[in-house]
């Protein structure tokens, strides 16, 4: 299903250009080098690349073809970057050539009004007849880092990861990728869905459900055309893989003035939120939350609602507890047995808090973290941990992180999210955590929000 898009052996770029600032050259460069901008994440596409341009003999040093039909080999995927009016003609060539997957980057279709809509319908008719599936039009393209495939004119290849990102905004993708490189965030795929004339969110969700690289799905959404279909598919997919959605704007359809009271209460965003809740889709309030929740859900198991907080700073622990309470996260009571073990460990400070949040006191070294983490996770009704570290002069960020990683291995069903508060002097430890798939957040409320997503996930799966 949709393999022609995510795992092609050959890609043609129809509308490849000699102009370095054009999308037509951007796509060729993305395939050839992995990205337009330089990045260590860039990898050249391993399959065949065929630029098509009737006026050029070569582009970026590789042979250029006048027409798709001049190519002898099989083409799995075609990326179309020609002006909208020409799209039907080149699409007919794709049909003749037996191409089964087409990404139409060109704009000037449904999004510009009636004339564009007609063109879009014509394109769809040609595609349907030839069994061609289409992503777009009016999109950025797609990326599949694990296959070294960047069939887009986005900035560069992102890190390979576990989160599939489907976006109705192409421009947002550009910025998200730029950000993701800074924070080592990885994607199993990034797809710009554009006008979703043919392939929409539903199809992509179904694909992601089966995709082995994808562990969670992040969606940026402006509007749906068939809400019921989305709900049906999301409900099915979310049994297997968590979905997080960020919804922007309010659909015109939901804004119609209604005379009744209930009508005026039913703002369209509220309906979207209701539909998300009913189909097991996590709601993100902003871009940060979209990716933070998606990452936590991709890397950590679902969590029963009873957790503990371990901290070396009283204030940070209280802040985190406040956020937990606001979200409805239960903080487990530490059992007598747990307290006995901690008391008898010989490693606790005499003034340690002896309750949840467990304050290890500022001078805590890694052995204190180690014992506390292990002891709390031994307690049966503690199902997950938020581990907070404030940076004191004696703190051992890397060793503390290792204690967390050890516990992740020992208790694979109990999630841990961390909040290493700080920046410069915690960076190496944070990288260690993130490289080992422990989500870290530099402020406690984000850690609590991520934990909450894991609790919601547990609830959904056990509903």
């Amino acid at each position: 299903m949709l393999e022609q898009f995510f795992n092609p052996n050959s890609v043609a770029v129809i509308g490849a250009s000699r102009n370095p600032s054009s999308a037509g050259q951007g796509v060729v460069k993305s395939l050839l080098k992995g990205g337009v901008f330089k990045s260590k994440t860039n990898k050249p596409f391993k399959g065949k690349i065929y630029p098509i341009n009737p006026k050029a003999d070569s582009i970026l040093g590789i042979k250029c073809y006048k027409n798709l039909l001049d190519i002898k080999g099989k083409i799995d995927l075609a990326v179309i970057v020609v002006p909208a009016k020409i799209v039907p003609f080149v699409l007919r060539d794709c049909a003749k050539k037996g191409v089964k997957g087409v990404i139409i980057i060109s704009a000037g279709f449904g999004e510009i009004g009636e004339a564009g809509k007609e063109l879009e319908i014509e394109v769809l008719r040609i595609a349907k007849k030839a069994n061609i599936r289409i992503i777009g039009p009016n999109c950025l393209g797609l990326m599949r880092p694990s296959n070294s495939l960047n069939a887009s004119f986005g900035p560069c290849m992102p890190h390979s990861g576990k989160v599939a990102f489907f976006s109705q905004s192409g421009a947002l993708i550009d910025s998200v990728i730029d950000w993701s490189l800074e924070v080592n965030y990885g994607f199993s795929t990034v797809v710009s869905i554009g006008n979703k004339a043919d392939i929409g969110l539903g199809d992509l969700l179904k694909w992601a459900k089966e995709d082995k690289k994808t562990k969670s799905i992040a969606i940026y959404l402006e509007g749906l055309t068939d809400g019921k279909r989305f709900m049906r598919i999301a409900k099915e997919v979310s049994k297997y893989k968590p979905i997080v959605a960020l919804k922007a704007g309010r659909s015109k359809t939901g804004m119609k003035a209604v005379s009744s009271h209930t009508g005026s209460l039913a703002g369209s965003y509220e309906i979207y939120k209701a539909a998300f809740k009913q189909s097991g889709v996590h709601i993100a309030d902003n871009v940060d939350e979209l990716f933070e929740k998606a990452e936590a859900l991709a890397s950590q198991p679902p969590c029963k609602n009873n957790i503990a907080i371990i901290t070396n700073g009283g204030g940070a622990g209280v802040l985190c507890a406040d956020h937990c309470e606001k979200l409805g996260i239960n903080l487990a009571e530490l059992s007598f047995e747990t307290l006995d073990k901690l008391d008898n460990s010989g490693r606790m400070h005499y003034a340690y808090s002896r309750r949840n949040p467990l304050d290890l006191v500022g001078d805590a070294l890694h052995d204190r973290y180690d014992i506390a983490i292990d002891t709390l996770l031994q307690q049966k009704n503690i199902h997950g941990l938020i581990v907070i570290q404030t940076l004191q002069t004696m703190t051992q960020p890397i060793l503390d992180a290792k204690a967390v990683l050890k516990a992740r291995k020992k208790y694979p069903n109990k999630p841990i999210v961390t909040s290493y508060m700080g920046g410069k002097f915690s960076r190496d430890a944070v990288e260690l955590l993130e490289n080992n798939h422990v989500p870290d957040f530099n402020v406690p409320y984000k850690a609590a929000t991520a934990m909450y997503a894991l609790i919601q996930r547990y609830r959904w799966l056990n509903r």
């Binding site: 055309t225 809400g227 709900m231 939901g254 009744s260």
Partner: protein, 208 residues
Amino acid sequence: MLIEQKEVLKLLRKYNLVYPKTLIFSESKLESIKLKFPVALKVDSSQIIHKSDFGVVHIGIKDLFELNRHLKTLSTLMKMHNITKYSFIVQEMVKGQELIIGMNRDEVFDTVIVFGLGGVFTEIIKDVSMRVAPLTKKDCYDMIDEIKGKKIFEGYRNIKPIKKERLVEVLMNLSKLAMNEKHIKEIDFNPVMFNEKHITVVDARMIK
């Protein structure tokens, strides 16, 4: 178009939604009445959308004499506003706490059910939850649990608690109505009164 109350009540019966003992008639004077006082008097007319905005809902009427006085006033009011097609509705008064329950059609999600605490506060605080129909029982429980003032269902001061299952039943019935009667575009039960014994749809408005 506003659906006539006779038809509305028929639909409520069909879907096991309880409403107060009701009398619908067009005479402006009554000799006797089989309902228990106090009663509420309303006018039903497709020419009036918001009854309370129009001064055509009279509540707490204590006896037949008072009822006839109000009937006379209302008849005059109808004449003044050139409203020719209408009938009177008299209902037994129901005690309890107010809820608001409704249904709306959405172009993206089709049928949406809304549930909330009633009264003017619904409009001010917007303490409502909604779900896309058809509802499952779990959806209904979620809707009830999402209400900020949900504590009221557990009883508060002199308010007796109400079993959530009872509320779920009402929501499920409305969901069935909405899914089966596709010609109805909008439903507004406002208020619905609940007490320890009954959940009663006191005022039901439907638009087709």
